[in-house]
């Protein structure tokens, strides 16, 4: 649980993974809990398969929108190497929830760069608390790869200074508005992510 008055959540991943939607949902939950909220991301060329981050800050009053390096309370990584890339943004007391899925960019497939061999160990070596989440696997089990997002939201919900169910409510509301059965499915994904985070934290 976060202790200071302001909570900094950094979400990271790559274009098209739903990082921004997840951030919107967390922002809604923060507003519902009565916080001042700022959320920032840089779009533009990043949409084309580039690195995407969303900085979410909430508390009594927020000035700067971006989280300085070393100041994030929570890192929510939608991709494994991205988790490693942004780990320095965490406070020493922070927690990282990392999707273990790997997304290989063309610069790696074409042999210009190599993907880190064991990013999880590198993240652990940085000394911060980390919970790996097999969000891709969980989403597949539930029958839809696009549920990764909701699995990760479930995973992070327990690390925030408000009731996890308020995140779930915002999530379900958003998807039910599209189709009621989507609401149900995303709620399942959320619960699976939540359970995975609890199990992962115990294992760590």
């Amino acid at each position: 649980m976060v202790e200071s008055a302001i909570t900094n959540v950094l979400l990271c991943g790559i274009g098209g993974q739903g990082v921004l939607t997840a951030s919107e949902i967390l922002a809604e939950a923060a507003i519902a809990a009565g916080h001042d909220v700022k959320k920032t991301e840089v779009a533009g060329m990043a949409q084309r398969g580039g690195v995407v981050t969303s900085h979410l800050r909430f508390g009594p009053k927020i000035f700067s929108p971006a989280i300085p390096p070393g100041q994030a309370d929570v890192l929510l990584a939608f991709e494994l190497a991205e988790g490693l890339r942004w780990i320095s943004h965490l406070k020493p007391t922070g927690i990282a929830l990392v999707n273990t899925m790997r997304v290989i960019p063309p610069v790696v497939s074409t042999g210009l760069f190599s993907y880190p061999v064991d990013p999880l160990s590198d993240i652990r070596a940085s000394g911060t608390r980390m919970v790996p989440i097999d969000a891709g696997g969980i989403a597949k089990e539930l029958g839809n790869a696009r549920l990764v997002n909701s699995v990760m939201l479930g995973a992070v919900a327990g690390a925030l200074p408000f009731a996890p169910d308020s995140v779930k409510e915002c999530l379900v509301k958003r998807f039910s508005a599209k189709k009621p059965e989507l609401g149900v499915l995303n709620a399942q994904a959320f619960e699976a992510g939540r359970a995975a985070a609890v199990a992962g934290a115990k294992a760590a």
Binding site: I31, G49, P65, V107, A145
Partner: protein
């Protein structure tokens, strides 16, 4: 087009700066908005299409956008033009002159500066235009301020009969924060266009008469700025450093130095020098925190107000607490805490932007990369600028919108003996061609240039997320609109009909052959590629391809298309003709594959096959009309 439900007055909701500007403009009684898409400004006009009782338009370029807004404001209506920072260069002509004549209905020019260069060719500071054109500049720090200042800008514009620049930065445009919205004021309905050639017809004698009026207006605006509620002092107990700041710089100062006195400028030009002088007298040292260039600082020094700024802070890129805190500590002679990084993120591979899976530009750049040694390729602004990157590396220049065609003529006529045998190829997108390419092509033909022009018509403004333009047959609302006929237009510009070709870019052998032929002919040729962006509705997906594992020889040819759906399964080093060669055996991500078949065309051993039986291919679809 389906419109969103409008939140009622009094609602407090999360809005980006761009959304807040749109809402506030509507509430201000806006009648007309015109814009050309450009990151980070694009969403302003997109949002405005969601509001009733106003006319929101995509213009073909920023000069056109501003002139349309000027016409509407001269007619008496509240009007808005929106663009990114480099767009103002295009719009500079009307901006500089209309400053003399001014406006009747309020005209707010919203300019979004891409501070930090997420998606631009330069990082110019829009605040200079206020000085250059003698018009006021407002600088909000976040969405709530963007909302309030948009309203204030319309009022100021009408009060002083001048265009007002609302200067945003990326961190205003795209940051979402809480905004309380209000009611709409009725649009202007009294008055109308007044015949007044001594004002509206800017011949030299008129301009000469208007110059002193412009100077008077600026003087009055200075007085306004001294007393503006947008320029405020926030007291603080730690008087070692007082800050003068504007825009997001204010947020970073408050975040970093909560106890410091701050003078915040909302109406930052003309600056309230007397108020700043008085503020300077209350603090030990004055530091100017501005994004990006040394502008206010220079003005303060010229006014005899001692201050520091860019000697200790960077003149480019975004400011942030992690920049301000150590800079001020050093300035005060305090020790600067060294932060130890948990992990060096530069060790992780980069993830540069790529073209999309199945993008119609992939075949074009694959083809160009095969002709690389024989051509100089002048490029333009859009997704296809990515052709400069690995693996294609098939772009030699990019400067600004439309420059591919004009620079092609210069590259042709100004060539030195070394390049005598090279062909010049210009690559430009559909929207960029309509923005500023038509004139360049006309000029290229007129001056008897020798270049092959590729117009990559993907039927949308791709880079900014898929906006419409006169080549798509839809307006800003998605409603049917007259559609330009590229071939007729190009013929009318003087390109010979036999030198104009329309080609499906997924048919690479045809593209290759046509390019080779046209490069050899010493005239202007135009090749239009005609397949849609994969991100728009008109794009059709086909059954995906897969790799027959046993058949793949690891040659890596398919990887040279740059399609992100092609993945390397394993690498092997082998000796071939005494040289070590690396083989890359591939796989295709079938969930991403659009079935375009491009990689299949590059595969010598025929190892790439369509997965599911007989779905039609893009080529077949084309063949069958």
């Amino acid at each position: 087009m389906k419109k969103k439900a409008l939140p009622p007055a009094g609602t407090r909701l999360m809005m980006s700066g761009n959304e807040a500007v749109a809402r506030a403009a509507w509430e201000s009684g806006l009648a007309l908005a015109s814009a050309y898409p450009g990151t980070p400004s694009t969403e302003i006009l997109e949002e405005l299409t969601q509001y009733p009782d106003l006319n929101a338009q995509w213009a073909v370029n920023e000069k056109v956008a501003l002139e349309v807004a000027i016409g509407s404001a001269v007619a008496g209506s509240r009007s808005l033009a929106a663009m990114k920072q480099v767009g103002v260069n295009v719009a500079a002509d009307p901006l500089m002159s209309q400053s003399l004549a001014g406006v009747v209905g309020g005209l707010v020019l919203v300019v979004a500066d891409d501070v930090g260069l997420s998606s631009s060719q330069n990082e110019q500071d829009t605040r200079f235009w206020g000085r250059f054109a003698h018009i006021p500049v407002m600088e909000p720090a976040d969405a709530q301020e963007a909302f309030e200042m948009t309203k204030a800008a319309f009022d100021l514009s009408e009060k002083f009969e001048t265009i007002v620049i609302l200067r945003l930065t990326t961190r205003v445009c795209h940051v979402k924060s809480l905004v309380t919205v209000g009611e709409r004021r009725a649009p202007n309905s009294e008055g109308g266009f007044t015949y007044d050639p001594n004002r509206w017809v800017l011949v030299p004698s008129t301009a000469k008469r208007r110059l002193p009026l412009q100077a008077e207006r600026e003087k009055a605006l200075k007085a306004e700025s001294e007393n503006s509620p947008l320029n405020v002092v926030e007291q603080g107990p730690d008087k070692r450093v007082g800050f003068v700041t504007s825009g997001p710089g204010y947020l970073h100062v408050k975040e970093s130095f909560p106890d410091a006195p701050v003078m915040k400028l909302g109406l930052s030009h003309p600056a309230p020098f007397e108020a700043i002088r008085a503020f300077a007298g209350t603090v030990e040292r004055l530091v100017v925190v501005e994004e990006t260039e040394k502008l206010l600082e220079t003005e303060l020094k010229a006014e005899g107000i001692g201050c520091t700024g860019k000697d200790i802070l960077p003149s480019n890129g975004e400011l942030a607490p992690e920049i301000l805190i150590p800079a001020i500590a050093k300035f005060l002679g305090e020790s600067v805490p060294v932060r130890k990084l948990a992990h060096d993120s530069s060790l992780v591979f980069p993830r540069p932007p790529t073209m999309c899976v199945g993008c119609p530009h992939l075949g074009v750049y694959y083809t160009l990369s095969k002709l690389r040694r024989q051509v100089t390729i002048s490029g333009d602004i859009g997704c296809y600028t990515l052709g400069a990157l690995h693996p294609w590396k098939a772009l030699d220049t990019t400067t600004c919108m439309g420059a591919s065609l004009t620079m092609a003529l210069g590259l042709d006529k100004g060539r030195l003996p070394k390049d005598a045998d090279k062909s010049v190829v210009a690559v430009i997108g559909d929207s960029t061609f309509l923005h500023m390419g038509i004139q360049g092509l006309l000029n290229l033909v007129y001056n008897k240039g020798n270049a092959t022009v590729l117009i990559l018509d993907n039927q949308t403004v791709g880079m900014t997320g898929g906006q419409d333009h006169p080549g798509t047959g839809k307006d800003a609302y998605g409603m049917p609109a007259p559609k330009v006929d590229f071939i007729k237009l190009i013929e009318a510009l003087g390109v010979k009909p036999e030198r104009i070709h329309k080609i499906n870019p997924y048919m690479m052998p045809v593209l290759f052959k046509t390019l080779k032929e046209e490069m050899a002919i010493p005239e202007v040729s135009v090749i239009i590629t005609d397949q849609p962006c994969v991100l728009i509705e008109d794009h059709e997906r086909f059954a995906p391809y897969t790799v027959i594992e046993e058949a793949c020889t690891g040659c890596g040819n398919c990887l040279k298309t740059g399609c992100p759906a092609i993945l390397v399964r394993k690498r092997e080093k082998v000796a071939k003709n005494g040289k070590e060669q690396e083989l890359a055996f591939v796989d295709i991500d079938i969930s991403g594959c659009t079935g375009c078949g491009l990689c299949m065309e590059t595969c010598g051993p025929d190892a790439i096959k369509r997965m599911v039986p007989p779905a039609k291919t893009p080529k077949e679809a084309q063949a069958h009309g």
